[in-house]
Symmetry: C2
Subunit: 259 residues, 2 copies
């Protein structure tokens, strides 16, 4: 471990979207400090489902809460942008985002603040990992299992880096460490939420709509992120920032010429 620390003298930026007071963030920071010099820069409160939102319409306040721990009154993406540009003394070797209370699987990753922080890091050329625990609401989070696998992934990335423009999306089943069966490298699954917009009325009878809940239908294909986690494995999906559907370019060109 000392060897690894000496080999990678850089910093690790730790962030999340559950906010600076989240136990998952502090668990993650403690783990990362075993192998590297960690700075924690996280939103001052929960910023879930904010997607890859940048705050550009107002200035951001940074509070230095204690040594190498900062809060920002913005999104996870803001934390990474401001952290890289103004807080960290040098470019970090790694960004880890999490440990998120709740899975980030399938299409949900585009809504996820946790994953978006890793997207922002990747855009700026810093290898980045997002880590989440799949919860079902009945058990408290087993942070120790997520910490263990996050450290494995962090060591892996510090040693091997990552393919161009690619981050790791890590999802851990909510099990005691000894019950986790291992790691699977997976592809992103598909899901649709059904019935996730609810009508509600104000005390004055005005109708409002509240988004949330609903029943997710998953595409349970082989090799998918959701399947791995449901089977008790840690899912690691390499996520690419180039969203081009290259195969579709030729199709479009052919069909377009026909109109």
């Amino acid at each position: 471990m000392i060897e690894l620390l000496l080999m990678n003298k850089g910093l690790v930026l730790v962030t999340n979207d559950d906010g600076i007071h989240s136990p998952g963030l502090m668990a993650l920071a403690r783990s990362v400090r075993e192998i590297a010099d960690a700075y924690v820069i996280a939103p001052d409160r929960e910023r879930s489902a904010v997607g890859h939102a940048l705050t550009m319409h107002r200035p951001l306040r940074v509070e230095n809460l204690r040594e190498q721990v900062y809060s920002v009154n913005g999104t996870p993406t803001d934390c990474v942008a401001v952290g890289l540009a103004k807080i960290l003394p040098q470019k970090p070797s790694l960004i880890v985002s999490g440990i998120n209370r709740g899975a980030n699987l399938g299409d949900d990753i585009t809504y996820s603040g946790t994953v978006s922080a890793a997207i922002e890091g990747t855009i700026f050329g810093v290898p980045s990992i997002a880590v989440s625990i799949m919860l079902d609401g009945t058990q408290p989070p087993h942070y120790e299992a997520a910490q263990h696998y996050c450290l494995l992934a962090a060591r892996f990335v510090l040693k091997n880096s990552l393919p161009y423009d690619t981050l790791l999306n890590v999802n851990v089943p909510n099990l005691p460490l000894r019950e986790i069966k291992g790691v699977k490298f997976t592809r992103q699954s598909k899901r649709i939420y059904d019935g996730s917009v609810h009508e509600t009325a104000s005390p004055w009878g005005e109708i409002f709509y509240w988004i949330g809940g609903g029943k997710p239908y998953w595409e349970h294909g082989e090799d998918t992120d959701i399947n791995a986690v449901m089977e008790g494995y840690v899912s690691i999906t390499p996520i690419h920032l180039d969203l081009t559907n290259n195969k579709a370019i030729g199709w479009l060109r052919d069909k377009w010429n026909g109109i």
Copy 2:
């Protein structure tokens, strides 16, 4: 045109991230009404750079401003989610998002509310198009050119649909229609913004950070979205919601076994 209307009896949902009062939205709605029955459902004010944000922490108010025109006090993603679930009388045949004042190219698309509305539509199985004009701040937007090419793309999608899990990201140079050279089918480019976090002080001397501006460095590769628009072409990029870097899965598996 009447033939097309009869062929596609469905609706078209028109939205944006510049807000319900944006001239680009109304220009788009007018164009779409030439070929289909359009509903406009858009944010009540500007919601740029919000990414794929869903509002889940508060209920949303929908205002019916006039026939088939609604505002929502939320994000573009909220507009699509609530529109599909609660406002539209049936599932639309197409969603068009725009016309955005400003390009959505390269990695910027992950921040873009305009593109995120099209992502939300695609998740729910509705073919979706995002349309933006590249502005340089010196000229007012040539909406007529963007309207023309958006209608072409809309007709194309109503006739041919789109590949699975794929939306069209359309960027139009800010030129009079006759000066546009045609359409190029492109891939997403890369960009890094340099110097986009600025220090500012409150009247009481407290330091704040403001994100914005900065100098974008583009990867100007052949076939990229930015190159097409810079050369005076309309760029159409097929964007895929499956972000898996499939090639990286094997690499990860091999390297992981070595740790």
